[in-house]
Structures are given as C-alpha cells and as structure tokens.
Symmetry: C2
Subunit: 365 residues, 2 copies
C-alpha cells in the first residue's frame, strides 16, 4: 500500500510503498476511504512535538480516518469484513481505573494495545528501519492495521469522507462541551479560536442549547464561519479586548468559556472572562515552556479551569451519536470540509492548513 512517511522532523512527508504484517489477535485491517489533516500532526512534522513517544522515525502520521473493514483477526468481537468504521486515536484498554470510571479518553494503559516489544510491529520495516504507528493508527496510508479498541462501527448510510473527521476534530469540540464542561441549556458560552476545533465547540454549544454563544477570533472570515455554526455574537480580538467585551455583553462574564487555540494568553483570557463560579475549558495544547497564570482572587470566587483531551470521549458511545445527529441534519460536517486531496498532495494540504486557509482538508483514497 501507499503511505505518507515522515523520516525526520522538521521534514516533509514522503510517499512510499509500505506493507502491513499479518493481522494478529484483536486486530482489524481497514481499507481507508478518507483521512483528515489534523493540526496536531503538523506539530510533529514541524518537530515541535517528538515522535519518539511513538517509537521514532520513520513514522506514519494521521489519526482521523474512516474506511471499510478488510480483515479481522482472532478474538475480534463486533467487527466483520465490510463494516464501515471510524478510527479514533483515543484508544482504551477497558481495564484501568480511568476506563472503568467512565473516562476512557484518559486510559492509563494505551501502550498495552500495541503489539508487545518482542513481536513484529504492525507495519513492515522500510529500508531496514521499523515504522512507528503514530496514535496507534497511522492514517496517512491506504490501509490501517489497528487494535479493535481503536475502531467504532458506524451505519453504512454515513458518507465515509465526512465520517473521517468525526474521529478527532469534531469529537474534540463537541465532547469538550457535552462531556468535559457539560454545558446546560440556557447557558452563556464563549469560544476563543474559530478554527476546526473552535467551530465544533460552537456547534456543540448550539446543540447543547446554550442561549448565548460568543465566538472570538482575530479574523472576520473565521467569525463569519462561526455565525454559520451557531455563534450568536462575534468578537474580533484584534479590534477590542475580548475579556472586557465578553464581560460587557454578558453583564459579568460567561458560564462556560473554551480555548481552542493553544496559547498562554488566550487560555488566561478564557479564565478571566468567567463569571463567579464559572468554568473555563482549555482544549488547545499550550506549550510546556509557557505557564498559564491565574489570579488567586479570581479563583477564590469559585472560578474553575480544566483541560479537555479528545472531548473526554467514550468513543464507541459518542461517535455513533454524532453520526446520528449528522444524518438527522443537526450536525454540520459538510461545511467543515474545505478541501479534498489525493494522498500525494498531503504536503500542499498541510501548507494550506498552516496558512489558515482551510478548516478541514481530507485525503480521499
């Protein structure tokens, strides 16, 4: 099969012929229909994050994929050849204290779902070097060979290209609202950053029945998109102080704020625009060298700040629900896909994403 391989970072993705090894117990081979370009892969391509935790170079990135089951291994329950599936990097062991407390996104035992170090890797070596399976998926390839707990079965009516993006970007935004923050109907919500995650956070707030949804960005173009996804007010942070403006609009601060960029400054703003007793949820990855600074007095008035990873998703439960919402016409996915490319256009796709020109670009196989 063909795959986009990262051999060093910073670097470019190179299209190579690679092979999967035979399907093992609890594993499923899936022929992909589509694979999304997520911003977090870009951090690895640029060398901001280290692929060492996934086994080093060469590595196949990509973790937002959907396709059709080609083959199942021994002890696989619930999947058979021909099933439509979405892959999710939020794999779960089902046995650790997080999994059995309803928090599989925080699974402490994800590595137990990789093959044992003494076994062959799932991907054959390339030029004598073992290939690392990024996010337990490696979705920038025509096929993926994954543990069954990295997959969820979906109904055949769901178009697979739109299904692909549910696995990461959509789930992260919706889940932050539904699962991490648990926004109630009638709430006031502010969302900082109107990229792919931010737009899904906004539509999550709409679906959750928030009364006021304030979208914040520095680009009017993104704020226009935010309105289409459910923002009831928009604030251009390049023109006004977003904290003061949100406090003015809401007469004291929002019930829930979300940060969907990953910057120290915007994470702090998310906290500062809360009313007493309200909650800020940080979805973006703030770099380690920049600490988020909080005022103890603002905290004392029972303000809260929390992180959200993968929308606190329980993906075999939540992803089928999102698919249902799409098929009912309540969840916008078509509008999120701003480009469809072939696998060998992947570097151009990432250049566009970096330039802020795309919401979501997907590779269609």
């Amino acid at each position: 099969m063909r795959a986009a391989v990262l051999k060093k970072a910073p670097g470019k993705l190179e299209i190579e012929q690679v092979k999967t090894t035979p399907v093992g117990p609890q594993e499923v081979l899936v022929r992909l229909a589509a694979s999304g370009l997520c911003h977090s892969d870009l951090h690895y391509i640029e060398g901001k994050y280290d692929v060492a935790m996934w086994g080093g170079f060469p590595a196949i990135l990509g973790h937002e994929a959907a396709g059709i089951v080609e083959e199942v291994g021994d002890n696989v329950a619930g999947f058979k050849k021909g099933d439509h599936v979405i892959a999710c990097s939020s794999i779960y062991c089902g046995r650790c204290r997080q999994c059995i407390s309803g928090n599989p996104a925080l699974c402490e035992n994800k590595q137990s779902l990789q093959r044992a170090p003494t076994e062959r890797r799932r991907l054959e070596s390339l030029d004598g070097k073992p290939i690392s399976q990024f996010g337990n998926i490696s979705g920038f390839a025509e096929c993926i060979l994954v543990h069954q707990n990295a997959l969820v079965k979906i109904v055949d009516e769901m178009p697979l290209d739109r299904a692909a993006i549910i696995g990461c970007g959509v789930s992260t935004g919706l889940g932050a609202v539904f699962r991490t923050a648990r926004v109630e109907p009638g709430s006031t919500v502010a969302v900082i950053g109107c990229g792919g995650i931010g737009l899904n956070t906004i539509q999550g707030a709409r679906l959750a029945g928030a009364a006021n949804i304030i979208a914040i960005d520095t680009l009017d173009l993104k704020l226009e998109a935010a309105r289409k996804f459910g923002a009831t007010e928009v604030v251009n942070a390049s023109k006004v102080d977003p904290v003061k403006e949100v406090i003015r609009i809401t007469n004291g601060g929002v019930d829930y704020s979300f940060e969907a960029i990953g910057l120290k400054k915007t994470a702090e703003q998310a906290f500062q625009m809360l009313r007493k007793g309200a909650t800020a949820t940080i979805i973006g990855m703030v770099p380690r060298d920049q600490k988020i600074e909080l005022d103890g007095f603002e905290l004392l008035s029972e303000r809260k700040i929390q992180g959200s990873i993968m929308g606190s998703i329980r993906f075999p439960i939540d992803i089928p629900a999102y698919v249902t919402m799409y098929l009912q016409g309540r969840l916008k996915l078509d509008e999120l896909i701003t480009g469809r490319i072939a696998l060998d256009q992947i570097n151009e796709g990432y250049a566009e994403l970096k330039a802020g020109k795309a919401i979501r670009t997907i590779i269609v196989f």
Copy 2:
C-alpha cells in the same frame, strides 16, 4: 456594649464602649455567647487587606459568632427572642442568579443587605466617626445587629462556644469537601496545610468516606493533630518533596487535593499532585501579586483547579447539618478550640494565632 475596635492598620484592637442603633426591618439583635478568632481578620489587622470595602476605619472585625436572639425587627421570619443562632458572613440576597442557582456563597448582591447609604449605620458613631460593620457582622462585640440572612437558627442543645466556630472555619473546610469538590466515598485526598481550615478539610474527607487522606504540613505537631482528625498518612513537607511523595503513595496522584494555606507554591503543588482527570481545590487566599502557574500539558490531561469560598456553603441548610453531626459525636469541634479568652485579651489571642500556637481561640462573653 463593649467591642474591640480597629482604628487603623496595621494596628491593635482597642476595647471601646459602642452602641447599636434601633433594630430595623429584617434585622435581628443578638447577644453573643462566643466569637472565634479567624485568620482572615488578622490580614485586616495587619493591613494586608483593606477594610475600605467595608466602609473604612473605625471598624469592628469578627465574623465567627454565636449567641441568643435579644430582639427582632419588622418582617423577620423564623427568628424570635431566645433563639440560639450562628452568624455567618456568607450572607445572601436570595434573589440574584447565584443565589437562585444554589450558590448563595457567591451572592452578587450582598451589599443590598446592608442599610441604605442614606440611613444611619447599624452601629452608632465613635468619636464622631461612623463604625464599619465588617463582614456584615462585627462579631468582636457583646452584641451584633445583623440582617436576618446573616443568621441561622440552631437547636438549644448545641453549646454556643463550639457553635461559633462552625460559622466560618468549620464550614469552610467541610464545605470545600462536601460542596465545592464533592468528594466521593473511596476517593484519595491530599490536604496541604493542617491549621484550622486544613483540619476541617481532613475531617470533611473522613466524613465523606475518603479511603486515603494524606495530610501535608511542615510541622510534626500539626501532622499529629491531622491524624486525630482523620489523616491516614502524613507528609512533612520540610523533609520530602510533597508532590513526589503523594504521587508515590498513591501510585500516580490523588483524586482530590486541597490547599488550605494561601501560598502560590502550595497551590501549584496541589495541582501537581493530581492524577489525570482529578481536581485541586484552593481554599487559601493567594495574594494578588503572586500568580498561580499551571502547566498546559498537565491541564490537558483533564486536571482541574478551582477555588472554594466559604465552602460553597448554603448556610441555612448546611450549618444545621454540621450541628447534628457534632451532637451525634461524628464532627470534632472540642479538639479545635485550643483557647478561651475574654474580649480584652483579643490582641494576645491574635499574637498566639500568628505564632501558630493555636488552632482556634474563641472569645467567651
């Protein structure tokens, strides 16, 4: 009546003869039996916090008091002469969005329960200067004249000296566990700081059924007291790194941590000793010039940090429950009172508190 008056800060409290004005509508005059020396008053005596928000000097501090109703004004419901009551500075209007959302401790309208600026103050002027009523109570006096929403009726069997300390210190610790963090039975808990608030947080965790309760302090004497209040493990932070030690004991971090000192460093430690998905609750008042710094990656693993003020108390509901627990022998109060003094020994009482020699000293009238 006699009262301890603060005329400037930093300063000493001076015993003066003062008078209350006639009891107005919705007001209650209470003859105090006991009044606790709380650490937060000390901040005002030392000039670290400004009494300006309460109306300036001269002011009568004190906000942890219990006594017997002497007289009730018009439109007072639920109190009559002879009732035993606890005063609570967490007064509530009952009409704002916080009060009607179950969060009266965050009432946005507390000032509406003071007399109108055009009316006489509740306390007669001293040397021609109006006296400020600190915390809507001014408990360092033989009598208090307060709004009925600053009081809760308790059963006559409850000793009034032990009742006094429930109004602030006990409620703050227990409420942080029961109401702010909502600790579940079987949880692992760490409490940083084993002063009055910390000991009540520890006994709150015990009453809530926490399985492991780790007390942290720098003084062995305080750690011994912590064991008596329910700590199952103790860590002397002057000898070992408390973050590493808690992570070692719990094999990955606690479910709930509490900071009961009010320092930047310990607030950050409370966050750092959490397992993924766990919650730090900051009870202490961290000074405004010291920001609490959080690592974005630790936050991303769904760790949470929140403030707790007055234990998120709904005091007409929660205080009678604490009284019941004491009368049942489940809540330790006698052990908290390390000294009983007369009103004119108040400066010596605060000197002892500052020196860390006392858990709770109470004035007995």
